[in-house]
Amino acid sequence: MTILIYDNTWPGFLTAIFDAYERKLEQARICPQRTLQPSLLYTPINIITDNVKAKRVWLGLEKKLSRTGLQNVYHSFLSELPAIEDHLLEYIRLALTLDGAEKAYGNSTILRGTQVAKMVYREKHRMEAFVRFQLTKDGIYYGAVDPDFNVLPILISHFEKRYADQKWLIYDLRRKYGIFYDLEKVQEIELDFAKPEGGDIRSIFSEEEEIYQTLWKDYFIHVNIKERRNIKLHLRHVPKRYWKYLIEKSP
């Protein structure tokens, strides 16, 4: 069997799909460089990312899939789950053969596509909720995150619309890149920094930062109705792994 190796990027993945079709590979696997494990069972082919090919694949999909269908493909890709590429190849094969296939939920490939996309969408939504900006001395609202999936690319439009009049930076600590808005546009950036949360908060963040954090914590405690305490429900909505971002949950 052939294994197509791409450069971890979205256009790279679409190019791999293109090549799989062009080479008429009936049985192929697609694997990102990042998780590649050498194996004698597969013939490796290195895919060279080609934006023209990528675009053609996307245009092809646009003809067959609704907006939700397209979103399912892209969002599933961002999940970075093991073998998600193989799964997407199958999803795309179905979508290109059968009209409206994205709604054939009785089919397990299609259903899984929707479910993975939903998980990613949920993570996106959680980040929109849980990012906590802290104002730095140089006037940038900075928020660090560590999402389960690679959701930064799909957060841009939400934060750009909302915080149009302030500079902000959301940084993915796990994947080591961030999105930065400089009042004009959003760019991907990589930082080389000694973790800001390690240092003394007062040296990096503005003076008023501490005041508002305290006020926010006060508010969080006082809006709670003690008689109705329901920690199970609380934890379902705010799972512990997200607490590290949340000012109101930090000691």
């Binding site: 409206g100 296939a101 709604k103 054939a104 939920y105 009785g106 089919n107 397990s108 259903l111 939504h125 929109e128 909720a129 849980f130 990012v131 906590r132 900006f133 802290q134 104002l135 609202y141 928020g143 619309k161 909302r162 915080y163 149009a164 009049d165 302030q166 009042l183 008023e208 005041i211 508002y212 305290t214 006020l215 926010w216 006060d218 508010y219 969080f220 006082h222 809006v223 709670n224 109705i225 003690k226 008689e227 109705r228 305490r229 329901n230 920690i231 199970k232 429900l233 609380h234 379902r236 909505h237 705010v238 949340l246 000012i247 109101e248 949950k249």
Partner: protein
Amino acid sequence: MSERIREKLKILADAAKYDVSCSSSGSTRKNKNKGLGDTGNGICHTYTEDGRCVSLLKILLTNFCIYDCAYCVTRKSNDIKRTAFTVQEVVDLTINFYRRNYIEGLFLSSGIFKDADYTMERLVRVAKKLRSEHNFNGYIHLKSIPGASDELMKEAGLYADRLSVNIEIPTEQGLKLLAPDKDRKDMIQPMNFLKNEIILRESENKTFRNAPLFAPAGQSSQMIIGAAQESDKDIMFTANSLYKNFNLKRVYYSGYVPVSNDNRLPGLNTSVPRIRENRLYQTDWLMRFYGFQVKEIVNQEHPNLDLDIDPKLSWALRNVQQFPIDINRADLHLILRVPGIGIQSARKIVDARRFQRLNWEHLKKLGVALNRAKYFIICNSRNYERRDLSGSQIKQYILSGAQSKALSAVAIQLQLF
């Protein structure tokens, strides 16, 4: 300086927390001229330890109040600390919380100081300042104070996304007993005024592209549950008439939290009727999204909702003769009536069955709760419930199969907030 603000925030958040409405969705306000903020589907930025969504900075402008409503912590006769924010303080808090992504916006309510207009004028001033001085496009929910002038209501609608008047007690007698200085008419009147104003502005908006927004997220209201001795039928009939007569977007049901030893009210140590509150929300959803008429769920013979099973199941058990229905053929609106099938699953079923006939396995994967649904449907399988079971038999099977689940499901339903 910040210590004084802290003190005020604690007191005025405490006093505001019994208003359960937290929605920040449904507005069409967009960021303009690269200002601050945007509205959309609404986001819960965190959840309190009681499991409720925190989406807005929900505070009172002041907890001074000239009224003495028995069920309210802010009532005049209650011996508590009183304080008030200045307009600027509320504006600063809102902006700074918003910029840090803590909140979707502001929900500002108030005790009544001096009179209705005086209070309303201040609420409006906060909203006006946020909109015009700070180009703030986040969500603003203002309480409309019963008895405030039409002029002020109109102005409020120009700055706020949502306005609300709380009906507080579901029945008129209950209100008379617990809040003798209040009059149901004073609550209905602003609702009616706003309804008409919203309709008028909407038609203007269609004609003139740049007509200003007017309360684009509409009106809502809240009822306190369990403070007066009302039945679930009383509550849901009132809710239904609010939806129908005033086009309310949402009605909230807030289980009474004992705040007083007043003998007109449940005592201080009685618990919050949480399960009941849940069942009311479920009924509300059945009315708004599942195509049920209120009187199908609660009526003369069944004035109160069952606490041990959800209202859709109760309805189905009283109407077993309408089942089973065929999942592969029945209309969407009938599928929606099957216990254990939610809106999402119902839609997926209708989509998926165009490609293949669905069996139990499929239904399970599509998220159907088969332990309840299996008594009411047939699908592409020779296995189905062949016995001619009565409603009470089915109920017994379902409850014995999922005794503990039935109760923990209550917690899940709380997500409806």
